[in-house]
Amino acid sequence: MSKRSIAQVLVGIDGNTVLFGARKIKTKLITEMHKHGLSEQVQVIETGSIGPANQGVIIGVYPAGEMYGNITEEEVVEFVQERFVKGRPYKKLLLSEKLPAGIDLTAYDSRKTQYLGRIVLDNCGKINPEDIEEYIGMRGYEALGIILKEKTSEEVIKIVRDSGLKGRGGAGFPTGLKWSFTAKVKDTPKYVICNADEGEPGTFKDRLIMEGDPHKVLEGMAICGYAIGANTGYIYIRGEYQLSIQRLEKAIKDAEKLGLLGENIFGTDFDFQVKIKIGAGSYVCGEETALLTSMEGFRGEPRFKPPFPAESGFLAKPTNINNVETFANIAPIILNGAEWFKKLGTESSSGTKVYTVLGHIKRSGLIEVPMGVTLREIIYDYAGGMSSGNFKMTQIGGTAGNLLSSEFLDVPLDFQSLKEVGYSLGSGAVLIMNETVSVVDFIKCCMKFFVHESCGKCTPCREGTRYAYEILDKISLGKGKADDIESLKLLGESMKDSSFCPFGQSAPNSLLNSLSLFPEEYNNLLIK
C-alpha cells in the first residue's frame, strides 16, 4: 500500500502560463518540497488551465481548494515554507476564487460561484492532462466502453439528439441531427473532424479544453465515429497551439497503447484512429468548408453548400464536423443521460457554455456556466465586476459576433433568447468594455481584422471590408460626413446579403449593431 499524500499542488500549465515560467515554478516547487522532506506528503502535479487568465502562473492547493496567482520562482521558497512547513494559507498571493473541488452539478439555482456546474471543464485544472490514468480515474473512456458493448449507433445518436446539445462552434446546429445526416449516407469511408482552428479573436476556450483535458475530446470523437460509422478522425488545429498539439499527440499515443483508440477498441470490431492536421493560421479556415479545402491541400477557400459535408466532405466523402467543445460534451452526456443534460441550461439550449471573459473586468479568464446566464451575471457574479469605469458595451462571440449595449445586460445568453433580439451566441468570447473605449475606434479595429483575413474569393467581402475600413478610418480622424454613415449602412447590409460565405455575412455584424446602438458616437465625429 503506497503512502497517500495529504496535499496536492497543481500547477496550471497552459499556453499563457508557460510564458510566465510555469514549468520552472513546477520544478522549483518539487525542489523545495524535497528540501523540507515533504516530497511524499505533498505531490506536485501538472494540470491544464485553472481558470483565471490575467494572474500570471496559477497554482492550486488541494484539498484546501486554495488558488494562488502571480507566483514567481523566487516566491516559491516562501510559499512552501508558509503553506506546507507552517501549514497556513499564503495570504499574499491567495486569490478569492476557490478550486472546483467537490462542487456538484446539482447546485443549479445558486449560480453565484464561479466553478459550479462544470461539464466540459470538469477535469480541467484538476487532473494531469498528460496522464491517461488520471482521466480514466475520472470515469474517462467509460462512455466509449459502454456504448461499444451496449448500444447501437442509432441509440447513441438518439441520446445525443434527446439531450438537445447544439454545436458550440458558433452556428448552434443540433449535434444529434447533424450526426444522423452523416450516419444515413451509405458511401464510405466516412470521417469525423474536430474543428480546433479557433481563429476568433478573444476566444481561447478550445485551446484550454485541449490543454486541460485532451482525452475528453478524443473520447467524444470516437463515440461520434461509432455513431456515424467512421473509422478515422482528424483534428484540424491551428499551428500556434503548440501545447495543445503536444498534449493531443501524447494523448493519442497513450490511448492507442491501452487499446482505447486504434484497432479493436475494447476488444470489439470497432477501429478508430485520430490524426492531427495542423492549420496555417487563416481565420476563414475555421469555416467548415474552407477547412475541408485546406485539409485537402488547397488554398483555404469556402465551398458552396449544398452539398453539405455530411454528404460530400473531406475528399468528397461523408464527413461530420464539430467543434472541440461540442465533442467534449459527448462523454458526459452518454454517462449521465440526455435528461440530466437537459436539466441544465434553458429550454432552447441545454447544458453549459464555456466563455472566455476579457476586458475591463476584475477577473478575466475561462468560465463554464449554464446556458441562460445573463451578461450581468457574467460580469458581476463571475468576473468580479468592472475593473475600472462603468459598463459601456460588450462584444459577444468574437469579432464576427454582436455588439451589445447596457440594454442587453439581462437577456439570457442562449441560442433562442439571443436570436429573438436579432443576435447570436457565437464562439464564446465575451469582451467587456467601459466608457473609455470609443465605439468608432473599436469597430475600425474589428474591420481591419476582416480586411486582413478575407480570403478574397467573393467581391462583397473582399471589397466591402476594405471600403468599410476606409470610411471608418476617415470618420475616426474627424473627416467623415453625414453620407458616410449611409454608405456604411449600405455596405454592411450588402455584405450581409450577398457575401458568398458566412465570413463576409458576419463581418459587418458589430458595425451594423454599433450604428443603431451608438449613432451619437459617429455623429459627434462628423464634420458639422
Binding site: K3, S5, I6, E134
Partner: protein
C-alpha cells in the same frame, strides 16, 4: 484493453489519488501544525495518521493541516470533521493517542473522551 472491467480496475486504483481533488471525502482530520504543534510532535502525529489511512484503506478520509489554534498547551491538537456530525477537537494527541482515535472514532464512530478537548462549532 479488452473490456470495461479492465478499465474499471484502472479507474478504481487511480481514484484514491484523485480523492483529494474531487472533494468527495467524508472525513477530514485537521492537524494543527503551528510552531507550537510541531514542537510538541504534531508532525509525528500527522505521519501516524497518514500511515493509518493507507494501512486501513480508508480513502474517504483526508488529512490536512492548519496553523496554531491558540491552545498551545494542548498541542498536538487535531480537529475531526465527519460528515453530518459535529466537529470534535482532541488535545495532546501523540502517536499512541492518534492510533486510538483512529481505531475508535474514525473507524467505529466512538468519541475518545480521554483526549477530548471540545465538541461542536
Amino acid at each position: 484493453m479488452k473490456n470495461l472491467e479492465e478499465l474499471k480496475k484502472i479507474r478504481d486504483r487511480v481514484r484514491k489519488d484523485l480523492e483529494l481533488r474531487t472533494g468527495k471525502h467524508r472525513i477530514k482530520i485537521v492537524v494543527c501544525l503551528g510552531t507550537c504543534g510541531i514542537a510538541a510532535g504534531a508532525r509525528e502525529t500527522m505521519n501516524t495518521l497518514i500511515d493509518l489511512i493507507a494501512k486501513k484503506d480508508t480513502p474517504d478520509t483526508i488529512v490536512t493541516t492548519a496553523g496554531c489554534a491558540g491552545f498551545c498547551q494542548q498541542e498536538p491538537m487535531i480537529q475531526l470533521y465527519i460528515e453530518d456530525k459535529e466537529p470534535v477537537v482532541y488535545g495532546k494527541v501523540d502517536q499512541k493517542a492518534a492510533e486510538e482515535i483512529f481505531e475508535k472514532h474514525i473507524l467505529k464512530g466512538e468519541i475518545v473522551e480521554k483526549y477530548l478537548f471540545s465538541k461542536g462549532k
